[in-house]
């Protein structure tokens, strides 16, 4: 890092050289990985404990009435899933498997939890990614516009719109969107990931649009995109409503700064001041909120996924929770924790990219 000292004109700048050793970014990343590992361990303990204290029995949740009347069936179920073991033994067993990358088997689907996640996560990702990108573009643009037009009609309109968006229940918006675009206009399919005429493209990413395009099956990719349109519309609107308010207030604060007045005082055109000076400085708080929004989209949006019949993480989490399907619940919890830590890490790295004061200290 370079520091230029004041003093006699012509004073020579001094360079404080970085102490030898690992690159600060590597040290930072190593620390974060260690923290994440600890966090995930904590998540397993808490989830394990919570699932075992809630009233309810996985046996009654999973077996039919007929099977419940058969003590042999119940005992077999308990033995199969290790429920006859003491809690600590169950936990250690789970942890041992986890270290080998084995998340156990879901009592509901009968499949490995890891396979389930690999099936459901890409579906959610396919919803979350375009929703987030669109929301970020629209939210930033509209929020900036409202800030620049502070107090005027455009601003009022944006604020009322954002408030409406925030107070709209997601399930209601989903139903309205379905009614208008599917039932009335017939512009988009009602739900699912693909029409019945098509079979899923060969799995690469698990996202049908991408995989379809990769396999050259453009009709499949197009059909998948059409299925995406309505849930993405709903998720984008909700996320935009949330972002706009943050962007607006962040940008308003930046607009008060002397350096924005200084930029105007230099005779720069307004669009340059807004794009280069305002946007750059307002981006830090926007990145924080966007990170949280993206993490919440990735963790699955139960209601929207349910209404659009979208086999994503949210639906999986919901079904596992109601069935007290411990391995699946643990798997989803670990996934959500991982998403939040990764998103936070990305946000922190982005801070450094945006603000040199963070990067250089």
């Amino acid at each position: 890092m370079t520091t230029v000292h004041d003093g006699e004109p012509g004073a020579v700048a001094t360079t404080a050289s970085r102490p030898r050793g690992a690159h600060p970014l590597l040290t930072f990343l190593a620390k974060r990985v260690a923290v994440t590992a600890g966090l995930l361990l904590g998540v397993t303990v808490v989830t394990f404990g919570l699932v075992n204290v809630v009233p309810g029995d996985p046996v009654t949740a999973n077996l039919s009435d007929q099977a419940l009347n058969d003590p042999a069936a119940v005992a077999a179920f308990r033995e199969k899933w290790g429920l006859d073991q003491p809690l600590w033994a169950q936990y250690l067993h789970y942890l041992g498997n986890l270290l080998h990358g084995d998340l156990g088997h879901s009592q509901q689907t009968g499949r490995a939890v890891l396979d389930d996640l690999l099936h459901y996560v890409p579906a959610t990702l396919e919803l979350a990614l375009p929703s987030m990108v669109l929301a970020l573009l629209i939210g930033t643009g509209v929020g900036m516009l409202a800030a620049v037009r502070n107090g005027r009609f455009t601003d009022q309109l944006v604020r009322v719109g954002a408030l409406l968006g925030l107070s709209t229940p997601p399930f209601w918006l989903s139903l309205v969107v379905l009614y208008v675009f599917f039932y009335q206009l017939g512009l988009a399919p009602s739900g699912g990931r693909l029409s019945t005429d098509f079979s899923p493209p060969p799995t690469v990413t698990g996202m049908y649009t991408v995989d379809g395009a990769l396999a050259g099956q453009w009709d499949v990719a197009w059909d998948a995109a059409q299925h995406l349109s309505l849930p993405v519309l709903v998720l984008t609107s909700l996320t935009v409503a949330m972002l706009v308010r943050f962007v607006r207030s962040a940008m308003l604060e930046v607009l008060q700064q002397d350096y924005i007045r200084a930029a105007y005082a230099k005779g720069l055109p307004t669009r340059v001041v807004l794009r280069r000076h305002l946007l750059r400085a307002g981006l830090v708080p926007v990145v924080t909120v966007s990170g949280l929004a993206f993490a919440s989209l990735l963790s699955g949006t139960v209601l929207v996924e349910s209404i659009f019949g979208w086999p994503g993480v949210g639906q999986y989490a919901y079904r596992s929770a109601t069935a007290l399907d411990l391995p699946a619940i643990l798997g989803v919890s670990l996934f959500v924790a991982l998403v939040y830590t990764l998103v936070n890490l990305t946000v922190d790295l982005l801070y450094g990219l945006i603000d040199p004061r963070i990067r250089l200290s």
Binding site: T2, V4, H5, V12, K266, G267, I354, D355
Partner: protein
């Protein structure tokens, strides 16, 4: 020869929740080519608002009357395009706090060259070369490296030098310096003042120096305007203003000023406070705090009237004023 900047009967009214607030009243001032002019007064007297008016940076809803001509151009009737051409390339500004006025996330080089490229139509290379020259001119060590650095990597004084270099980049003829040394250490102040004087001498730059510090006024400027409650109350060559003031307010300001070389003297604070905008008394705005006020002072704000060859004062009483030595 016509002055470079000629402000005549300027009045500015700002919107407020309680209705329009008049801030500047009947302000007239001139700055000649290559002249260092001081504008002094307490906080809130309208000095900075005058600067904002001259750069077209007033908040929305502000109402401006009067005239402000820069190099023959009427500033107050400029459209957005016209303002963009004047700002930076005609009139440039240095702000009070360089830490706030420099963009924390853009490199010095970017902030130094972006308006050069707009105003002077320079390509990246030419702008870069000029940037190095400018940093050298304001005595920033190792200019090439400074271009790649960010503002937070410099000390306060160096930041203000960078801000001055940025202000000068598009070759303005008038620099408005709004209390550019107030946020700096005293030892650093002198360096910035010397720099401004040197730039004036070397490049023929005219400087309007806004300050609340009469010491700075006398050290740097040749002519001064004393502001009170949005009006010019006295003007003339700085030497005369500060040794033989004609306005009771100027005298009171001098009396309230600590003397650096003297001990044991008394500081005489001015009783009362300046009127808030919109609450000025009907007559002379200083009359409620003035020891020499007469009944006629409450009638109408006294106009700025010439006294002798090069001085004017806005006072009807014109008492004989003693300045504490």
């Amino acid at each position: 020869m016509a002055p470079l900047l000629d402000v005549d009967s300027l009045a500015v009214t700002l919107p407020s929740p309680r209705g329009p607030l008049p801030i500047l009243h009947d302000v007239s001032l001139t700055v000649d080519e290559g002249e260092l002019v001081g504008i002094a007064g307490e906080s809130g007297c309208g000095k900075s608002l005058t600067a904002q008016t001259l750069l077209g940076l007033l908040p929305p809803g502000a109402a401006v009357t009067g005239s402000a001509r820069y190099a023959g151009t009427e500033l107050l009737s400029l459209d957005a395009r016209g303002w963009q051409r004047v700002r930076g390339a005609g009139i440039a500004m240095v702000f009070q706090d360089p830490s706030a006025a420099l963009h924390p996330m853009l490199t010095v080089g970017r902030q130094l060259t972006e308006h050069m490229r707009v105003h002077l139509r320079m390509d990246r290379r030419a702008a870069g070369r000029r940037a190095v020259e400018l940093l050298d001119q304001v005595r920033i060590p190792d200019p090439e490296r400074a271009l790649r650095a960010y503002p937070h990597q410099f000390s306060g004084g160096m930041r203000q030098r960078v801000a001055i270099a940025i202000a000068l980049a598009a070759r303005p003829r008038l620099l408005i310096a709004d209390e550019p040394t107030t946020a700096l250490d005293v030892t650093v102040q002198a360096g910035i003042l010397a720099l401004l004087e040197r730039l004036r001498a070397e490049t023929g730059l005219a400087v309007a120096f806004i300050t609340h510090d009469l010491g700075v006024l006398s050290a740097l400027t040749t002519r001064g305007y004393i502001f009170y409650a949005g009006r010019v109350v006295e003007t003339g060559p700085t030497g005369g203003l500060l040794t033989a003031p004609n306005h009771p307010y100027t005298a009171a300001l001098l009396g309230a000023r600590p003397h650096g070389t003297q001990t044991g003297g008394t500081l005489r604070p001015i009783p009362g406070a300046p009127p808030a905008p919109g609450e000025a008394p009907p007559g002379c705005p200083f009359q409620p705090r003035c020891g020499y006020a007469e009944p006629s002072c409450g009638e109408a704000p006294p106009p700025l009237t010439p006294v002798g060859a090069d001085r004017s004062v806005a006072c009807v009483v014109r008492p004989h004023l003693e300045v504490a030595a």
